[in-house]
């Protein structure tokens, strides 16, 4: 539990910094060149770390299923929908909806255990928790001020979690 929480917090903090960095690149190079760079570097870093921790085992891919080869498509879906959502709605509304949707789908996923993931039973308390988090996100985003297009929270997300 504590280990998982620490990992999640580390991941979230890195996403925050990465988002700022990526948006600086994206301002100049456009979203697709940025996405290609980000994913290419992410691949290289994963390869190096994997080799470091697992040596040759890094190249042992047993139990590969066909769709695993196409999972990268999801990342492309993220970029297309995010860029368009923010373009049409602006960062405050766009990001608020995106974050809420992320949590909503997470709850659905846990409750149904789709894709063979361990089921985490649904309880009304979970729904309440998610709704309060969403409320917090909306309050946070709306009170942040809309004028600051260059701020960290509102920058275009070109991330790769």
């Amino acid at each position: 539990m504590i280990a998982g929480l620490m990992l999640a917090i580390t991941a979230g903090s890195l996403v925050g910094i990465q988002t700022i960095f990526n948006s600086k690149v994206s301002e100049r190079a456009g979203s697709w060149a940025t996405t290609a760079l980000v994913l290419g570097l992410g691949f290289a870093a994963s390869l190096v770390l994997g080799l470091l921790f697992e040596g040759k085992g890094m190249f042992v891919l047993h139990d590969m299923q066909l769709w695993y080869w196409f999972s990268g498509v999801i990342g492309v879906g993220v970029v297309i929908s995010l860029v368009n959502g923010i373009r049409l709605l602006g960062p405050t509304l766009g990001v608020s909806i995106m974050l809420s949707s992320q949590l909503g789908f997470a709850l659905l996923w846990d409750s149904f255990g789709w894709l063979g993931l361990e089921k985490v039973p649904f309880t009304p308390a979970k729904l309440l928790g998610v709704l309060i988090i969403v409320g917090g996100i909306v309050l946070f985003k709306w009170s942040g001020g809309r004028q600051a297009a260059k701020s960290a929270e509102t920058t275009e997300f070109a991330e790769s979690t």
């Binding site: 999640a8 991941a11 994913l39 042992v60 509304l93 766009g94 997470a106 790769s160």
Partner: protein
Amino acid sequence: MKGSLFALLAGAFITLQGVANSRISQDIGTWQAAALTQLTGFVMALLILLVVRDGRWQAFRQVKPIYLTGGAFAAVIIFGNVTAIHHMGVTFTISAVLIAQLCLTFWIDARGWFGLEKRRIRLPQLIGIGMMVAGVVILKL
């Protein structure tokens, strides 16, 4: 309306990405899953670049080199995300990731780091963060 649909989809895709990575890592390992999904995503992005002809590679040179390194963080991000999902489930993991992310960018905004315009901390924002943390505690009750 169309915008909301895009934003809704974006959230769904981001969650799906975390879940898919977790699923794949169960079979082939976490670093392998991180490398594989990013390699295939990279190839897709390159193909799209060829089609939309939006490649401004020269523009990379106008960006401070440190900002170009953001992608490398993803290795640790995916590892953390996937391992946390295995430990605590999708909802709790994504909530914790989001809160950490929002708090850090909030702090960076307030300090004006990375050449960002400094912004004042407003009380409702702190209340918002408090609500998010309260929500996570309720999730675990």
